[in-house]
C-alpha cells in the first residue's frame, strides 16, 4: 500500500519512463559472483544521503557492524564486518551494489543482512515491534541502496600494506 502511494506520488512528478526503471527486489539480476550491474533506479546515488542511511539506526545502521573513516565522527562503530575505509579499491561498483542488495550471493552464510530483499524471510516482523509483519518490504528502498553505493564509492583511501 505504502509502495503504491509512493509510486502514485512519484508518478505525479516523474516521467513514466523513469518510474519503470526502478527494479523490484525480486527482479534484481545477479551476476555469477553476486554483482549487480544495473542501477536499481536509473538515478545516480547521493553520497550525502547515503551517509545518513549508513549512520541512522532505523535505516542502514552500517556502523553497527563496520568501521569506516567516512563515519569516524560517530562513536563506537562495531567490528562484526570488515572495515570499509578503502572498500572502493576492493570492489567494483557492480560488486558493491550486489553486496548491499544481498551479499549472500557473494559470501555464502554471511551474517550481513540483505538490504533489498523480501525472499526467504522467516517470521517477518513489523519493524522492531516483535509483532508479525502485515507485508514484507525490503529493509531499504532502491534509491537508498544507490545512495549507499555512492557513499561507498567515496571510500577510496589508499589501502595500507
Amino acid at each position: 500500500m505504502r509502495k503504491l502511494f509512493v509510486l502514485c506520488t512519484a508518478g505525479m512528478v516523474m516521467l513514466p519512463s523513469v518510474l519503470a526503471a526502478e527494479t523490484a527486489p525480486g527482479d534484481v539480476v545477479f551476476g555469477d559472483l553476486g554483482a549487480v550491474e544495473e542501477s536499481l533506479t536509473g538515478t545516480a546515488g547521493n553520497a550525502e544521503a547515503g551517509l545518513e542511511v549508513a549512520t541512522t539506526r532505523s535505516l542502514g545502521n552500517c556502523l553497527a557492524c563496520h568501521v569506516a573513516e567516512g563515519w569516524a565522527h560517530m562513536p563506537l562503530p562495531g567490528n562484526i564486518g570488515p572495515a570499509l575505509t578503502s572498500v572502493a579499491h576492493r570492489y567494483t561498483e557492480a560488486e558493491l551494489r550486489g553486496i548491499l542488495i544481498n551479499s549472500k550471493h557473494m559470501f555464502e552464510g554471511t551474517v550481513m543482512p540483505s538490504f533489498y530483499n523480501v525472499d526467504d524471510i522467516i517470521r517477518p516482523g513489523d519493524g522492531y515491534t516483535g509483532k508479525a509483519a502485515t507485508s514484507v518490504e525490503p529493509l531499504l528502498s532502491a534509491q537508498q541502496i544507490e545512495d549507499l553505493l555512492a557513499l561507498l564509492q567515496t571510500f577510496d583511501e589508499p589501502e595500507e600494506e
Binding site: A72, P77, A83, G125, E160
Partner: protein, 292 residues
C-alpha cells in the same frame, strides 16, 4: 587491558586508519584473560570458564560466563551482595516464599522448608521435563504449586512477583554447576531448541548463532557480544534498571532481528531455554547477576 580500554584502543585504531583489511576481532577466544576468578561475597566461587559440553561438538572451544565480557565496575557489582542491585528482589522473593497465600492456607515453606535447603540445586537443572512428560521452566513449577497446592493465583511470567521468587530460588544454587538433562524425555525439546538456535529469523535474517557463536567477543556498536549464556539469569540489567527473565531476553533478541517474536512462557521459548541452558552446562549458576 580492560574492556573499556580495548574499546578505546579499537576507536583509536579506527581513527588512525588501520583498515588494511579488517578490524575484526577473533571470535571464540577468552574475552578477558586477565580476570582469573569470580568469588561472590568472598565465599561463593563461580566457575566462569569451563570446557565446552560434548554436544557442542567444537562449535565453541570453551564456554565463558557473560560476566567476563563486562567492564570492571559492572563485574564488581556482582561480587558483593550489598552492591548487587538484584538483591532487594531476592529478599522480596524470600518473604513471598515464607508468606501464606491462597485458599489452602499454605506458604512455599510449608511444603519445601527453608528456601536455602528446599531450593538448593533447583536452578541448576531447569528447565526440566515434568512427570507428565512436558518440558517446564522454573516458572511453570512455581505456578503449578501456587494454583494446585496453594489455591493461589498464578503469577504472570514476566511480572515482579514471579521475578522475585525466581531470583530468590536461583540465588540458592549460586556456585553449583549448570547441569540440565538433554537426553531421554528431554531430547525432542532439546532438538527443537537447537533448531531454533540456528534458524535465521526476521528481516535481518539473524540466528542466535550469528551473534553469540560466530561473533562472540566482537562488538555490535558499543555492545560487546557474549556467548549468550543464561547461567546468570534472572539478570539485573542496568540499562533497564530491572530484573530481566530468560524469556524476556529471548523475546527481545528475536524481536530485534525484525521478526515476529515468540511468546514469553510459550513452548518455543521453553525449548530454546533448554538448549541454551545446555550450552552452559558446566558453568556455575550465577543468578541473579548484573549486566549493563
Amino acid at each position: 587491558m580492560t574492556l573499556r580500554a580495548k574499546m578505546a584502543a579499537g576507536l583509536a585504531m579506527a581513527t588512525a586508519l588501520v583498515f588494511a583489511g579488517s578490524a575484526q576481532a577473533e571470535p571464540n577466544i577468552d574475552p578477558n584473560p586477565d580476570v582469573t576468578e569470580l568469588v561472590i561475597n568472598g565465599e561463593i566461587p563461580i566457575t566462569i570458564r569451563a570446557p565446552a559440553p560434548d554436544h557442542l561438538d567444537g562449535a565453541l572451544p570453551e564456554i565463558y560466563s557473560g560476566w567476563l565480557y563486562r567492564d570492571a565496575s559492572t563485574r564488581e557489582m556482582e561480587m558483593d551482595d550489598f552492591e548487587n542491585p538484584a538483591m532487594p528482589f531476592v529478599d522480596a522473593g524470600i518473604e513471598a516464599w515464607n508468606a501464606v497465600d491462597g485458599s489452602e492456607g499454605k506458604s512455599c515453606a510449608d511444603c519445601h522448608g527453608a528456601i536455602e535447603e528446599g531450593m538448593a540445586g533447583v536452578r541448576a537443572v531447569m528447565p526440566k521435563v515434568n512427570e507428565a512428560g512436558a518440558l517446564w521452566s522454573m516458572e511453570d513449577y512455581i505456578n503449578d504449586c501456587r494454583v494446585n497446592r496453594m489455591g493461589a493465583e498464578a503469577y504472570d511470567w514476566d511480572k515482579q512477583p514471579m521475578k522475585n521468587i525466581t531470583a530468590a530460588i536461583a540465588a540458592q544454587s549460586r556456585g553449583m554447576p549448570v547441569n540440565v538433562a538433554i537426553d531421554g524425555a528431554a531430547a525432542p525439546y532439546w532438538e527443537q531448541g537447537r533448531e531454533m538456535y540456528y534458524t535465521r529469523y526476521g528481516k535481518l535474517q539473524l540466528s542466535c548463532a550469528s551473534c553469540h557463536q560466530e561473533n562472540n567477543n566482537n562488538f555490535i556498536r558499543g555492545d560487546h557480544l557474549s556467548q549468550g549464556q543464561i547461567n546468570g539469569f534472572p539478570v539485573y540489567r542496568l540499562k533497564q534498571s530491572a530484573l530481566v527473565t530468560i524469556h524476556n531476553r529471548f523475546y527481545g533478541c528475536v524481536r530485534d532481528t525484525q521478526a515476529e517474536s515468540f511468546a514469553k512462557g510459550g513452548d518455543e521459548l521453553r525449548a530454546l531455554e533448554l538448549y541454551v541452558a545446555s550450552r552452559g552446562n558446566g558453568l556455575s549458576v550465577e543468578g541473579p547477576s548484573v549486566r549493563p
